[in-house]
């Protein structure tokens, strides 16, 4: 968590607003309908629209990589250190690989790490944060202790150690390492929101009417934090994309994979700026930035989805 931008505390939705009771509510339409409505609302938000378009392009490129890439991303058959030309649109690496094809295949790793690590981290954060926030006393103390511990252990060194300790270094290692080191911030934010919500009338009344813990937490509190959870996910996904790039850039990832991070790593190793292949540095960084940007922009729309006040006036 430490090597990335500080995670912005996501929106605090006002609980008094007539918020749709989330997907678990009894009078809700089917999940598909909900998703459709969610997407429509997202699409109606200008920023989220840009984000969705970028994200969709990334996903398409990742899926269609074998069709789109003009060459194999690993074949070392070209003349090394070529500047962009008709055959190699982004030039070639010092090992004679085609940078453009690497960029296309690289989308797969960045997306995979971002989404999977983001999801795992969010799952952990929500579970721990909600329970801690709703159950003051010993459970909260223990969970807060674990959260605080995870927060104070410096993230990047922890990643170093884990990356070195796990002998088989693959993309999945990075996913685990990133997820393991980036759940705590989300958990803390969710916990403080949950503890505030706990004292609100609608939760208190649910408690008094004798509903069970699980039900109160997941029916009454969680739906009020949809944007917080989604925010946590997109923040963690952004963090994961950045962390993957950083680990790879430092050579602590798996140099065998083709990702935007490893392109930057080899660009640094072969000093692409010095040999004039600035695209080898510029393109992967910009691609990482655009992917992170799309996550954030979609996040704007998610906020608006659950919090009508953030909706743009059309």
């Amino acid at each position: 968590m430490s090597i990335v931008t500080p995670v912005p505390p996501p929106t605090l939705p006002g609980a008094e607003v007539e918020i749709p009771r989330g997907p678990a509510g009894p009078r809700l339409p089917g999940p598909l309908l909900f998703l459709g409505r969610a997407l429509r609302t997202l699409w109606s938000n200008g920023k989220a629209r840009i984000g969705l378009v970028i994200l969709a392009i990334d996903v398409l490129v990742a899926i269609l990589a074998p069709l789109l890439a003009p060459h194999s991303p690993t074949a070392t058959s070209f003349t090394p250190y070529q500047s962009p030309n008709a055959t190699n649109w982004f030039g070639t690496t010092g090992n004679g690989q085609d940078v453009f094809s690497q960029m296309i295949y690289g989308a797969r790793i960045s997306l995979l790490v971002g989404i999977v690590a983001g999801a795992v981290a969010t799952f952990v954060a929500v579970t721990i944060g909600l329970i801690a926030g709703y159950r003051p006393g010993i459970i909260d103390e223990v969970l807060s202790f674990i959260t605080n511990l995870a927060l104070v252990i410096p993230g990047l060194p922890l990643m170093f150690i884990l990356a070195a300790y796990l002998t088989s270094r693959s993309v999945w290692t990075i996913v685990l390492v990133v997820a393991f080191t980036s759940w705590a911030t989300g958990a803390r934010v969710i916990r403080s929101q949950a503890s505030t919500l706990r004292t609100r009338e609608f939760v208190t009344s649910a408690q008094f009417s004798g509903e069970r813990l699980f039900r109160v937490v997941f029916r009454e509190i969680l739906p009020n934090m949809t944007s917080l959870v989604a925010g946590s996910f997109f923040a963690a996904a952004t963090a994961a994309v950045m962390a993957e790039a950083s680990l790879e850039f430092l050579g602590l990832g798996d140099p065998n994979t083709v990702s935007w991070g490893t392109i930057l790593y080899y660009a640094q190793q072969q000093n692409a700026l010095l040999t004039g292949q600035w695209l080898m540095v510029f393109a992967p960084g910009l691609a990482i930035a655009l992917l992170a940007l799309s996550f954030t922009l979609v996040n704007f729309g998610v906020d608006a989805l659950s919090n009508p006040r953030l909706r743009e006036k059309s």
């Binding site: 607003v17 807060s144 252990i153 922890l158 600035w278 940007l293």
Partner: protein, 328 residues
């Protein structure tokens, strides 16, 4: 007061947990410090011999004895703030090594973070207040775009363009070669000159977190009943925005600020690496890659304690700002 007391107890327990984890983690790493030290020789083209291995083992004085007795020694040395000397810098104490590096990190990243926080929060208040207007869109989109840049990448590009291509700024370091650190005006000017691109890199990439965190909080708070009530009572909107809404919207941002300030040291690794800045981040990278237990542990301790203190303070401020948590 009971709340504060419990937080203090928690602070101490967390400190112990962190100290113990700090002890265990480096020892879980495969490969000994001797192997790592030999690696430095090998990477400079020296063929390693058994004689060299023995000499290095003696030089490092690699710890023997059981984990339990090592743990005892470790706790003892922490109590006495005596970390011995590191493997990487055998001729000085760990405290000296860290003492030389700490001011650079604190100055560079501490200051940029504070500046980014202040500017970012103010921009966020403004954007939230002008929600939906062009000013809002410009501020948020711009900040979001810059936030998405990997800091090391932006650093690389700035370094290449401004330090190499056009030689406007120095390529590396915190001050000119040959200069002796001190507080003379010429040295300080030199240091400031060396810190400009690293500082810009960090500020640009961290600004946005504060901007849109604050903006969204503002928008929410502006919709709360008491703000509407204040507006209805005829208070000027600017007053409402700044005094009522901003104060409450600041709450979650304070949490994030404390955490981020504590993460300063950890976060400095990559940026300091790119600019070869003489701070703790660089030091940490060296310690970890050399399996330098004493240095690593001491650095971990510094980071851990600073983060714990930051969180503790944030907890206290939080109580002051939001009385609701006090009832817990």
């Amino acid at each position: 007061m009971r709340y504060v007391g419990r937080k203090a107890a928690l602070f101490v327990i967390t400190l112990w947990g962190a100290i113990t984890l700090n002890f265990l983690l480096p020892r879980l790493m495969p490969g000994s410090p001797v192997d790592a030290a030999l690696g430095k020789l090998a990477s400079s083209g020296v063929v390693i011999t058994n004689a060299q291995r023995q000499a290095v083992e003696i030089q490092l004085g690699v710890p023997h004895g059981s984990l339990v007795s090592q743990y005892g020694q470790y706790l003892n040395s922490i109590v006495h703030l005596n970390f011995g000397s590191s493997y990487s810098f055998p001729s000085e104490t760990v405290a000296q090594t860290i003492g030389k590096a700490a001011p650079w990190t604190l100055a560079l990243i501490g200051v940029t973070t504070i500046v980014a926080f202040i500017i970012g929060t103010l921009l966020g208040v403004y954007a939230g207040w002008r929600r939906g207007k062009t000013a809002d869109t410009t501020v948020t989109l711009g900040a979001t775009f810059f936030a998405a840049f990997p800091p090391f990448w932006l650093g690389l590009l700035l370094l290449f363009v401004f330090a190499f291509k056009y030689s406007v700024f120095p390529i590396k370091g915190g001050y000119s070669p040959g200069a002796t650190p001190g507080l003379s005006p010429s040295f300080l000017a030199d240091a400031v000159y060396h810190s400009i691109i690293p500082a810009v890199t960090l500020a640009v990439t961290t600004l946005s977190g504060w901007v849109f965190g604050m903006r969204n909080n503002m928008i929410n708070t502006l919709g709360e009943d008491y703000v509407t009530f204040a507006e209805a009572n005829g208070l000027r909107t600017r007053t409402v925005a700044l005094l009522y809404a901003a104060r409450n919207a600041l709450l979650p941002n304070v949490t994030a600020f404390g955490l981020s300030l504590g993460a300063v040291v950890g976060g400095s690794v990559l940026v300091e690496g790119v600019f070869s800045y003489p701070g703790l981040g660089n030091l940490l990278y060296i310690a970890v890659s050399n399996h330098d237990f004493p240095l690593m542990q001491a650095l971990f301790l510094v980071i851990t304690v600073s983060m714990l203190v930051a969180i503790f303070i944030v907890d206290l401020i939080y109580v002051r700002l939001d009385p609701r948590v006090r009832q817990a």
